[in-house]
């Protein structure tokens, strides 16, 4: 692995850990979802650097694409339920 690739991998790792902390500690749910998707996206680039392009494809399509969609979809459904008043009753 050349020095350039190694530097890139280390930068990506730091970005991944940073995004993971944002996903856990962030107050806003949409930003946390996006950060979790970013973790997957960086992971897929790392898989590519580690010479496994097929795992990278799966991670990019499912981890950062479909999973993020699922999170947002459920968030939209839950919020809509709250507005309609047919969600959880607070009284």
């Amino acid at each position: 692995m050349s020095v350039l690739m190694l530097t890139m991998a280390i930068v990506l790792c730091i970005a991944m850990i940073g995004a993971a902390f944002v996903a856990i500690l962030g107050k806003s749910l949409p930003i946390a979802f996006l950060a979790a998707g970013l973790v997957s996206l960086v992971a897929s680039v790392l898989f590519l650097i580690l010479a496994s392009p097929d795992v990278a494809m799966t991670e990019a399509a499912i981890g950062s694409g479909l999973t993020t969609f699922l999170f947002f979809f459920v968030l939209g459904r839950v919020r809509k339920g709250e507005h309609d008043g047919c969600g959880i009753d607070h009284d």
């Binding site: 097929d54 494809m57 694409g65 969609f69």
Partner: protein, 232 residues
């Protein structure tokens, strides 16, 4: 207090186990026996340029059939649960209009993404990737279409026909291998051809295309059921 202490001890123990694993790790200088067998024999036995595909589809083909079955069960259960709340799409209200950028972009990109998915699974025996990856890419193209137009209606009949047909053909090809070649899911009842050509590696391109269609149809049906469901 005692709870925190136990948690700390547990964390330290797990950390110590990982540290030992990491410190004791040495990359293999050469392939181990199983890996060397596959690396040496795949090209002449199976005729597939991509060794990973040869292992996934042929040597461990039964595992792949199991994986496809698990995915099928998951899709079937999602469809079953969500079909309880399915309503006519026209009754939905309060949809935020999607932007011009997303509409135009999805019209341009969705066919390209689908084409990439098909390319990935058709070339599964030559380049990295295969049925599962290609299917997932096709499903993300469908996702883009659904995001651009949430009221878009996909034909569930077509998706489920495609899905069951490809599953059935997959097992039928496996059985053909059992009768005409060395065993269940053996790819060599078709000529293995020239290494690296598109029409090579026996039945592997056929099997992987069927897996790709099946996985793509399963994910797409899950996405379509999710967006069509009004209330649970």
């Amino acid at each position: 207090m005692i709870k925190r202490f136990i948690a700390l001890v547990l964390l330290l123990t797990i950390g110590a186990i990982f540290a030992v694993l990491l410190l004791g790790y040495e990359p293999d200088a050469e392939l181990n026996t199983t890996a060397r067998y596959y690396a040496d024999h795949t090209a002449q036995d199976i005729g597939s340029a991509n060794i990973v595909t040869a292992i996934v589809v042929t040597y461990r083909g039964l595992d792949t059939l199991g994986e496809v079955t698990v995915l099928f069960l998951a899709a079937a259960i999602v469809g079953l649960v969500l079909s309880q709340g399915r309503q006519a799409a026209a009754t939905r209200r309060g949809l935020t209009p999607v932007g011009e950028l997303l509409t135009t972009g999805s019209r341009f990109l969705a066919p390209l993404i689908m084409l990439l998915g098909v390319y990935i699974f058709v070339n599964g025996h030559l380049t990295p990737g295969g049925g599962f990856q290609g299917g997932a890419v096709i499903a993300s193209g469908m996702l883009l279409l659904l995001l651009a137009d949430p009221l878009k209606h996909f034909s569930h009949g077509l998706i489920s026909t495609l899905e069951s047909l490809s599953g059935l053909l997959y097992v039928a090809i496996g059985l053909l291998g059992l009768f005409l070649a060395g065993g269940f899911l053996d790819n060599r009842f078709l000529p293995t051809g020239e290494l690296g050509a598109l029409a090579s590696a026996g039945a592997i391109p056929l099997i992987y295309s069927l897996i790709g269609l099946k996985v793509g149809a399963e994910f797409s049906s899950m996405l379509a059921s999710l967006t069509e469901t009004e209330e649970l």
